[in-house]
Amino acid sequence: MSKEVAIAGVGMHPWGKWGRNFVEYGVKAARDALKDAGLEWKDVDFVVGGDTMRNGYPGYVAGSTFAEALGFKGTQIASVYGACATGAQAIDAARARILAGLAEVVLVVGADAAPKGFFAPQKGDRPEDRDWQRFRLVGMTNPNYFGLYARRRMALYGATSEDFAAVKVKNARHGLHNPYARYRKEVTAEEIAASPLVADPLRLLDICATSDGGAAVILTSIEFAEKRGLKVPRIAAINAATPTYPNPILDMPYIATDSWAVVQPDARGFKPSIAYGAYEEAGIGPEDLDLAEVYDLSTALELDWYEQIGLCGEGEAEAFLRSGATTFGGKIPVNPSGGLACFGEAVPAQAIAQVCELAWQIRGVAEGRQVEGAKVGLSINQGLFGHGSAIIVKG
């Protein structure tokens, strides 16, 4: 039995700082996705909502919040939260129900209205909470973790601030014509170098902003898509997994790693394992990819991903970037959408937005940013509290 599901339609609300209710962004994306699929709300028999933690209770029950806004009709629902990986876990829940024969047409939708500045933990005095510990005891913001990885790259591989800036310059160019991107403007290396140092060695323009936005996909069984004559991309693999114990790399929001004094860490490492789990399921390798959407929370993290998803060897990412391999016309364009550099992060919508981009690219309709001959794409992100996800989409 095929483990694939069809991406019948995709839709997004443009990213930005619109200052409106997150529900509005999600509903717009959902309606666009339905229209894109040639389906109607009444055809949907399961809704998975990606939760937002920053918009009160409606955000915690996103499945029913979006269902209410689209019009209650007794639909089965689920609400999913997995930080940055929320969208991928939501898509995975949808896929499971379709493959189990419990649903035929599923709407997956996530949206956020994000506050300005650093993402802050939930209020309250909770010394047992890892998230409380890192802010109170060490003052660790999210960009501090990105800073640690960036400094590590510099020490191990001789990466420079100029290398990091080159990622931003590339992604800013990629996103220029993306109608859903928040920032559609070229950025120069000089502008990046002149922006304030936020989390050494990373400057303001190295770090992704927080945004409002919404994204949705309509997933169906392959049989349903074929019956309707839909020639659409398929989800070939989803890997939404935790690290294995012990994880020797300091992940957000921990203030210490596991100890590897007794048990040997997995040789592959956690972040590579996210991609390789998906490759294994799809029966392909990195050499089969035509494009990738990777989670560039910082410029330096995009370089880490090149190695972690197997595009180049360890320590080779800077040269790989400089060779032009990851831009249009190169071996494998990375973040043709413009990535988080051009979007800023709308947490529960972001992993869904990555899949929207893969679907557009594979359908050949990514105007102004089309990767020639795109047939296979991978999206990947890391969550919080130890998990991450990768999705492979095939034409």
Binding site: R134, G139, N144, G147, P196, P248, S259, V262
Partner: protein, 155 residues
């Protein structure tokens, strides 16, 4: 150290059970599984997290007070609460991730003044110190921090 002079303030740890309050030779407090011997910091109290180990017996142990700088960063802007700035006007500070050789783990900590991120280099030796996190009218709240070992690095 200045906190001995202001005797009127009560000196308390920022969190219970994570470190000792010895001002000269503070120690991080972790736990070690009595069955599989693995270490945990923050101290794990209930169950061993090694998936191959069923033990519920964890004992408190002092961790190494020196290690190697794995990486570092700094905060140019004030982090959100529950971070508490020790000064009215926020002053940037560095953070350090230090690898402990014996326990084979990396532990974060702030870097005390007057050291900044510009004083740090991956691979150098770091040592544990006790330093104020912030103060209230009645209390001086202490936390562990990582300071470069003088003359003990690759600097």
């Amino acid at each position: 150290m200045f906190y001995f002079t202001a005797v009127s303030k009560k000196v308390i740890p920022a969190i219970e059970g994570f470190f000792t309050m010895d001002p000269e030779a503070p120690r991080l407090l972790g736990t070690q599984c009595k069955a599989c011997q693995t270490y945990f910091f923050p101290p794990e109290r209930g169950y061993c997290r090694n998936p191959e180990c069923d033990s519920e017996e964890l004992e408190t142990v002092e961790l190494s007070h020196e290690g190697t700088l794995w990486s570092y960063s700094h905060n140019g802007y004030k982090p959100p609460p529950p971070y508490v700035s020790p000064t009215e006007e926020f002053e940037p500070f560095a953070v350090a991730a230090v690898e402990l050789e014996r326990e084979k783990m990396v532990v974060m900590g702030m870097v005390p003044k007057p050291y900044t991120h510009e004083d740090l280099k991956v691979g150098q030796r770091m040592q544990l110190v006790l330093d104020p996190l912030y103060e209230t009218d009645e209390e001086r709240v202490m936390v562990w921090k990582w300071r470069p070992v003088e003359g003990g690095g690759s600097k």
